[in-house]
């Protein structure tokens, strides 16, 4: 939960990220794992850097991350809340919005392009609004200590609001949790829970769909009965035919169809 987390928990956070993003084969998963190791090392290093340059810790780290792999630009320190000089009880909240590449463009070509420049991050129901930098980072400045709610507005994606606790007693400690599923976040990395499709897909016109519909099946069956049945009757042995007719007369059920294989179903 806490951001000043240990190595192990960081690694956990990592693998869960991968789970969310990757839908690929296990081979890819393996590859990801190894990369993840590299990345977490990288994080440790850059974390030190981030500590001394408090105001802008992200650029260096992102540079370091870029060296790892763009696919795994996952995780990152972020939310090292820092004192702003001058006012004692105002904090900064830093975080990152991450829209996985595979989600938006994929098989479904009509998915809306989640343009990063149109993503807004809102604090406490629109009281403060901020935007994303090209690498997805955002920050709120001069936020008082307390419990806050961060929402992300991005067309085409569903984000859970995030509860963020900025502690006054313990500067530098920020806790975050998704309010939708009460999952704690080790880092303030916000990812969409799911994609949103605003349009229903209209079924394209096709002969098959017409034939598959109940009406189509009924028509098809009737045609089959109308044209195939006389043929079946023709191929019957005249002897058998006569016998069947007699049988029918005796039963008093004047239905030819009941004798035939398809007719019983009717």
């Amino acid at each position: 939960m806490a951001f000043s987390c240990k190595n192990s928990s960081k690694f956990n956070g990592f693998s869960s990220c991968i789970k969310m993003v990757m839908v690929g084969t296990s081979a890819i998963m393996m590859q990801q794992r190894t990369l993840a190791m590299e990345a977490s090392l990288c994080v440790k290093k850059s974390k030190k850097k981030g500590a001394d340059s408090v105001t802008r810790p992200n650029s260096q780290i992102s540079a370091a991350m870029a060296a790892v792999t763009p696919l795994l630009l996952l995780l990152l320190l972020s939310s090292a809340p820092s004192f702003s000089s001058g006012s004692r009880n105002a904090y900064n909240i830093n975080g990152r919005v991450k829209i996985p590449q595979g989600l938006g463009l994929g098989t479904k070509g009509y998915a809306l392009p989640g343009r990063m420049s149109n993503v807004k991050v809102l604090l406490n129901g629109g009281q403060n609004i901020t935007f994303l930098r090209p690498d997805g980072y955002f920050s709120f400045h001069n936020i008082p200590a307390g419990t806050h709610l961060i929402e992300v507005s991005a067309i085409g994606y569903f984000f859970s609001p995030v509860r963020v606790d900025v502690s006054a007693r313990n500067p530098g400690k920020v806790q975050a949790a998704l309010t939708e599923n009460r999952k704690g976040l080790s880092e303030l990395v916000l990812e969409p829970l799911r994609e949103e499709q605003y349009y229903e897909i209209r079924e394209p016109f096709s002969i098959m769909s017409l034939l598959k519909s109940p009406m189509g099946l009924m028509v098809g069956f009737m045609l089959a009965v109308a044209f195939l049945m006389p043929k079946l009757v023709e191929n019957m042995d005249p002897e058998e035919m006569r016998r069947a007719q007699e049988e029918m007369r005796s039963q008093g059920v004047p239905s030819l169809s009941s004798l035939l294989p398809g007719g019983a179903r009717n």
Partner: protein
């Protein structure tokens, strides 16, 4: 079927970007806290960003030719945006020791190959790198009383001047090294008078200021760090005493302007503090900032009004008498005066200078003028709609023949063949284009007559600028617009404010030939006891046919459900002294009103003191002025909420025009519940005063939310409920017998929505058949607020993911169609949510009977289904309210959402069960019929042949 229009609001500052080849743009910041770039050729929006409500834009500029720099939030946030696509590049937070006027300076200052922005904000001078927003150096100005007025960077020099006033009578000048922020020199001079604040910069080392009496002009120059000053009384320059003068500061070298009540005076500074009047005009004049057109040469623009046209003059700064450009442009009277002008130049093919001017008008519209013509215009007044009403279109006249509209048979067939091709996906691109064209041409939706389904209407929108717009619901075009003359700034009305819009005349059987009209209510001044202004506007033509300056204030307007013989609706205006005034002032109106005199009740909500009061009419006014349309009121009841524990934050009432189909509600076990339907129901939400602030400012223990349902005739509290650990903001909607409200639950730290349904218990014992047969029932007794109804309420709460900006409910003409809630989310989308999800009878395991009735199993949170966003992938930026209007077709409701953007759509909560949808394939129907007929013939022939063969056998 739906349309979406995007606006940016009233432009505050504009910067052109036309140097490079490629698309020419203009970057603008507006009073609605928007930064946008527009296409200079057509006026379309390339991109735009809406900043937060407190994030007011202080200054914009373009840096490095590729970044848009914005300074906002009182100078504490500096952002850079990528010019082509609007992606934010960097963001810097600038803090300082104290609050001060924010100033942004981006003159091509280069320090060690780095382009630098100089920002003065919060008492600190910052040099910020353009590349990544890093603060290179900073210098604090901590003197308590210092008010920095200007930051000047003389071109080509390596230092910066910071000038300002200390203790408002001392002029201070700091000379700062631009490379490292080192203080080079500090000088100050005391003056006898006091300064008003504004200074005008006339050269890089001279400023002009006015003293606080507005009668003495001070010319202060600080050449080489030495302050020298000169005082000139304004009366020396002008023969007649001008009264209080104000400096308007075009930053033009050598020239400044002062504005008095009567005139605008342009003054030139010659040499050492000598002033000379160059021109004095009595017209309303607007001046642009200086634009440097070639080396050392500056130009600026003047715009003056003359009748129905405006004169645009561009002058070089050094020579007042010559004109670079003089144009006269015809201007629509409905746009009012010019408020702002921005100029830009271009090089013509003959190497002379051409100028284009962007002007902002009184109605907030934005126009680009070039070569004596209006190139494009944007109606950005529509970004600040205050109130909306609708008006029916005229009935189609008999004279218009239908045949002309219909195409001939061949074309009709051709059209259908094309459509068929389209459905079968055989159409070529040309065919598709032809289909589109046909659809547009033959589209019924943009006709100016009433249609059978009631989809075509006029949306009458009142904007903050005091302009009325009529929009066609079919395609959103502006049918007419009218700047209200009665709400214009004048001697008698200095600060006009428009308030509301009401339907004054709706043509009905008595007055079918009359045009409908609307009533606009305004007041002269921000306080509630300022005098009111009424204006009546024809809905078809947009002509203001009558206007009234009232002698009383307007605190409340009550449209009464009565009309006079010309179908004018009676309105009761309550003034600040609780007198009621009846309009229209006709004897007939008073006659029809007398009979209903005792049935008129109203209430008032005093948010500040937490008092809700109910009133009724008493007698004619007892004041000495005989006015038979004025009535005294008496207070009937009052509810005083304890101010230490409850603060009113939201109230909601039912829509007056809402139709309820049935009072009875059949429930699963063949039982009946009777809805308590009263138009006098008021929903009030209060919170703990501590918790009325923002989210997270209080702990759950010290915050609570209390909701009331109050009958406004008797003042009886029908229901009261407390949500502990919850707080606002509360959004509520009341309809039929239920209210739905949205609030924040601090314990769960999530938003919640609750529903309260209220049922009439006194009718519940009518189930006995024998009672009905004998006639011993009260089903036909009228619903009255006088009778003390026994009510029961049911309620339930659910989690909801998003914050809300607005909430509304669908409205249909008869109220038969099931209701859906229309929720304006924080992402500026409109989500439709079935009311069945907010049904207090939901339970975890509904019985079989309940399931059949349509009760959904209870879940703790409300579902958000992406397909039910009625705005689909569009955003209605800055969403403010959602308006629903019933169409004539029972299944359909018209939805209009407005904010900065406008969005309109038809919405059918239960699908269009009473009409075929637009995409219904008539072609397929035809094919099926033809195929069936053909099949009949074929089979008939086949059977005949078979029969013949059988006979031959």
């Amino acid at each position: 079927m739906d349309w979406h229009q995007q606006y940016i609001g009233k432009v505050k500052q504009a910067v052109f970007h036309t140097h490079k080849t490629g698309r020419k743009r203009v970057v603008a910041s507006t009073e609605q806290n928007i930064i946008a770039t527009l296409d200079l050729r057509r006026g379309e929006i390339f991109w735009r960003h809406v900043l937060g409500p407190n994030d007011v834009v202080d200054g914009i500029d373009i840096a490095l030719g590729k970044y848009v720099i914005t300074l906002s939030s009182g100078g504490s946030i500096l952002r850079a945006w990528n010019l082509p696509d609007g992606q934010m590049v960097w963001e810097s937070s600038l803090h300082g020791p104290k609050h001060s006027k924010p100033l942004l300076l981006t003159r091509n200052l280069i320090i060690e190959k780095d382009n630098v922005l100089i920002v003065f904000s919060n008492g600190r001078l910052n040099a910020v790198s353009c590349i990544d927003g890093e603060v290179l150096w900073k210098k604090d100005f901590e003197e308590e009383s210092l008010e920095v007025q200007q930051v000047i960077q003389p071109p080509g020099s390596g230092f910066i001047y910071v000038v300002g006033f200390a203790a408002s009578s001392q002029f201070e000048m700091y000379k700062i090294n631009a490379k490292n922020g080192e203080l080079l020199k500090h000088e100050s001079t005391a003056f006898s008078g006091r300064f008003t604040g504004e200074v005008s910069l006339v050269s890089s080392e001279t400023v002009v200021a006015l003293d606080s009496t507005g009668s003495i002009l001070l010319t202060i120059s600080f050449h080489n760090g030495k302050i020298s000053s000169q005082q000139t009384p304004v009366s020396n320059l002008l023969e007649d005493s001008p009264g209080l003068a104000v400096i308007i500061h075009p930053s033009v070298t050598g020239i400044f302007a002062i504005k008095t009540d009567a005139a605008t005076i342009f003054i030139r500074v010659i040499g050492e503090g000598k002033l000379e009047v160059v021109e004095k005009t009595n017209h309303e004049t607007v001046v642009s900032d200086a634009l440097s057109i070639s080396e050392g040469q500056q130009a600026f623009a003047l715009v003056q009004h003359a009748g129905s046209s405006i004169h645009l003059t561009v002058k070089p700064a050094h020579d007042w008498d010559s004109n670079l450009l003089k144009e006269s442009i015809k201007m629509d009277q409905q746009r009012g005066f010019v408020h702002k002008v921005f100029i830009n130049n271009y090089i013509r093919t003959d190497r002379s200078h051409g100028f284009r001017a962007l002007i902002v008008m009184e109605d907030h519209s934005l126009l680009l003028l070039q070569q004596g013509a209006i190139v494009w215009s944007r109606e950005d007044g529509l970004a600040s709609i205050i109130d909306v009403t609708t008006s029916e279109l005229p009935v189609e006249k008999a004279g218009v023949s239908v045949a002309k509209v219909e195409l001939n048979l061949f074309e009709w067939l051709k059209g259908h063949v094309l459509k068929l091709k389209g459905t079968l996906m055989l159409a070529t691109p040309e065919d598709i284009a032809a289909i589109q064209h046909m659809r547009l041409k033959s589209s019924e939706k943009s006709k100016m007559t009433r249609d059978h389904n009631g989809f075509r209407k006029l949306l009458i929108a009142l904007t903050r600028a005091g302009k009325l717009f009529a929009l066609h619901t079919g395609d959103g075009r502006i049918v007419w617009s009218h700047l209200l003359q009665s709400l214009h700034k004048s001697e008698s009305c200095r600060q006009p404010i428009v308030l509301n819009l009401y339907q004054w005349l709706v043509p009905h059987h008595h007055a079918l030939d009359e045009n409908p009209s609307v009533l606009v209510v305004g007041r002269c001044g921000p306080s509630s006891d300022a005098l009111g202004v009424l204006s009546l506007v024809d809905s078809y033509t947009g002509k203001e046919f009558s206007s009234l300056s009232l002698v009383h204030s307007v605190a409340q307007v009550i449209p009464l459900p009565y009309t006079d013989s010309t179908e004018q609706r009676l309105h009761l205006l309550i003034d600040a002294d609780k007198h009621a005034h009846l309009y229209p002032k006709t004897p007939e109106a008073i006659d029809s009103f007398q009979s209903e005199f005792s049935n008129v009740y109203w209430y008032s909500v005093d948010d500040d003191n937490g008092i809700i009061k109910g009133y009724a009419l008493k007698t004619k006014c007892s004041s000495n002025v005989a006015d038979e349309f004025c009535f005294d009121s008496r207070e009937l009841w009052s509810i005083v909420l304890p101010s230490e524990s409850e603060k009113i934050i939201t109230t909601a009432t039912r829509k007056l025009n809402e139709a309820v189909h049935t009072q009875a509600k059949l429930i699963a076990d063949q039982d009946v519940m009777y809805k308590y339907i009263s138009s006098n129901l008021l929903f009030v939400a209060t919170v703990a005063p501590k918790a009325s602030g923002e989210i997270g400012s209080v702990t759950p223990e010290e915050s609570w939310l209390v909701v009331y349902l109050i009958d406004t005739v008797t003042g009886r509290v029908l229901h009261r409920m407390t949500h502990h650990g919850s707080q606002g903001p509360v959004q509520a909607v009341l309809s039929e017998n239920w209210v739905v409200y949205h609030y924040f639950n601090l314990r769960a730290h999530r938003y919640e929505m609750s529903v309260i349904e209220i049922y009439d218990q006194s009718r519940a014992d009518n189930k006995d058949v024998w009672k009905l047969v004998v006639g011993n029932h009260n089903l036909t007794s009228p619903v009255s607020s006088y009778s003390r109804a026994e009510v029961i309420t049911k309620s339930q709460s659910y989690f909801f993911t998003h914050s809300l900006k607005a909430i509304a409910v669908t409205l249909t003409v008869k109220g038969i169609t099931s209701k859906q809630l229309l929720i304006g989310t924080i992402g500026d989308q409109v989500l439709a949510l079935d009311k069945r999800f907010l049904d207090p009878r939901r339970s975890v395991n509904p019985t079989q009977a309940e399931r059949e009735e349509g009760i959904i199993p209870l879940t703790d949170s409300l579902p958000i289904i992406p397909q039910s966003y009625i705005t689909h992938s569009l955003r209605v930026e800055g969403l403010q309210s959602i308006i629903t209007v019933a169409a004539k077709l029972e299944s359909t409701t018209l939805v209009f959402a407005h904010g900065l953007d406008l969005f309109f759509t038809h919405y059918a909560p239960s699908r269009t069960y009473d009409s075929l949808t637009e995409d219904f394939s008539y072609a397929l129907l035809l094919i099926t019929i033809v195929a069936l007929v053909a099949a009949i013939f074929v089979t008939w022939i086949l059977s005949q042949r078979k029969e013949l063969q059988d006979r031959w056998r």
